[in-house]
């Protein structure tokens, strides 16, 4: 089959057993910045064997060892078809039926020390139109970034450690949910401070005070995985460490909430809710990102005459002792992940 340069694609599926490959079945449109690379971790013997005028190491004393993959997966968050990706990226999910679809709640509250693993397949179209099908198994989402760029689509980015690789597996047949709605900046609403009611299996989080000053934000979840568990003859599944979760963004200096919160080290609950125009039940499909507790690190506003002041927001996300560190909630017409 001859493909066009628009036919690059990637897909994934959660594995039941780490590094036991499965046929991928969730497909995501290719976005600039998606990257998949395999390091064969070659080794060159230290022993030097001269003779015959040689001045460089003998190539026959070089070989590959247990390789390691590094992938960067990016996806625009949409109202359909994102559940499997979010489930794997964040670690835990619940799916509850609501009229017309489901509410899917994702968070990072894994039990034990292991994150879920997935098989990821990346199809790269060669310049001649043929395809290179790269399949990576034992994929662990080491770092997850959820970003609301200014005036743009909400993004998910996942940095992945992969355990094994092949080009021999056939490309999975792609299928995409029809007519998804993209979650976008213009349909968002933020809230900051107040008394948070965290999301239930059927209701979004609520209770916070509307806060319309954010222009953009980014949440980075570094799971601090140990991807160097090289035992003799193998490499073990990475362990999840203590996550380091950061919030950053930009907000207009329209009030003193943030600067006062910085100085007073206020512990703010925060959420953003995006409500589309796609009908679901008596409402619409929605995406909500919820942080029960964030504390600002730095950044009193810096003003400049004649310009709109926008302040940098830099915060740590910490546990409030009761709730999960972060929740991502999707109300979707999908009835399952």
């Amino acid at each position: 089959m001859t493909s066009t340069v628009l036919d690059h694609r990637w897909s994934m599926k959660r594995e039941s057993v780490y590094n036991t490959p499965v046929t991928t079945d969730r497909f995501y449109p290719w976005i600039d910045g998606v990257d998949a690379d395999w390091d064969p971790r070659p080794r060159q013997s230290m022993g030097q064997q001269g003779g015959n005028g040689r001045r460089s190491p003998l190539g026959e004393r070089r070989y590959g060892t247990i390789g390691q993959g590094a992938l960067k997966l990016r996806a625009e968050l949409e109202s359909k078809g994102g559940g499997v990706l979010l489930d794997w990226a964040l670690g835990v999910s619940t799916v509850t039926a609501i009229t017309g679809g489901s509410q899917q709640v994702f968070h990072t509250g894994i039990t034990g020390t292991l994150l879920p693993s997935a098989t990821v397949q990346v199809v790269k179209v060669l310049n001649d139109g043929t395809e290179q099908v790269e399949t990576y198994a034992g994929c662990t989402a080491g770092k997850v970034t959820i970003e609301q760029p200014e005036d743009n689509i909400t993004m998910l980015e996942v940095d992945v450690d992969a355990r094994s690789y092949t080009t021999a597996t056939a490309a999975a047949t792609p299928a995409y949910a029809t007519a998804p709605v993209l979650f976008d900046h213009f349909q968002g609403a933020c809230a900051l401070g107040g008394t948070l009611t965290v999301p239930t299996t059927t209701a979004l989080a609520s209770g916070l005070t509307a806060y319309a000053d954010f222009r953009s934000w980014k949440i980075e979840i570094d799971q601090s995985i140990d991807k160097d568990r090289r035992v003799i003859g193998s490499r073990n599944q990475p362990l999840a460490g203590t996550p380091n979760i950061k919030f950053s963004g930009k907000a207009e200096f329209n009030d003193t909430t943030l600067s006062a919160g910085l100085v007073g080290q206020t512990k703010f609950p925060w959420y953003q809710t995006i409500t589309t125009t796609e009908t679901l039940d008596a409402s619409f499909t929605q995406l909500q990102v919820v942080i029960p507790q964030l504390t600002l690190n730095k950044g009193l506003p810096q003003v400049k005459p004649g310009t709109t002041t926008v302040q940098d927001v830099d915060a740590d996300i910490t546990s409030d002792g009761t709730n999960r560190d972060i929740y991502v909630v999707v109300r979707t017409t999908d009835t399952a992940l």
Binding site: T20, T23, G233
Partner: protein, 138 residues
């Protein structure tokens, strides 16, 4: 042509390479090579199928080490039917379960006055008819 059925969470999916749209729980005729085949059973891997460190056989089939240390492999299947969570042959247990879920889903939508897709409505009618027939036979 082979009949397959989309049994996943999305109400409708589009197959861009084939230009086909599939409605959940409604049988769909597709070319044989698009339908493909289901994965085969796990079986012990032969020596020539072993790859150091696990992962895959040279043919790209999955390798899995079971609890007693035996390496297993299986034909991963091809085409849509290789994606067992999303596609099934009509009449299979997975397809029947998906149809039953869909009947309940559509009934709930109708009961609450929500819009229902035409294909789903036909499915509900067909399922109701089959239930009626089963009742007469019983």
């Amino acid at each position: 042509m082979i009949s397959v059925m989309h049994i996943g969470g999305s109400a409708e999916v589009y197959l861009p390479l084939e230009g086909i749209t599939a409605v959940r729980a409604v049988p769909l005729e597709v070319p044989d090579e698009v339908a493909g085949r289901k994965p085969g059973p796990w079986r012990p891997a032969r020596a020539d199928e072993m790859v150091t460190g696990g992962g895959w056989t040279p043919a790209g089939w999955p390798l899995h080490r079971d609890e007693d240390g035996t390496w297993l492999t299986r034909d991963p299947g091809t085409g849509l039917l290789a994606q067992e969570d999303l596609w099934a042959r009509p009449g299979s247990d997975a397809a029947l379960a998906a149809q039953q879920r869909e009947v309940k889903h559509v009934a709930r939508l109708k009961a609450e006055g929500r819009p229902v897709r035409e294909a789903q409505a036909r499915l509900v009618a067909a399922a109701a008819s089959r239930s009626l027939d089963a009742g007469k036979e019983g």
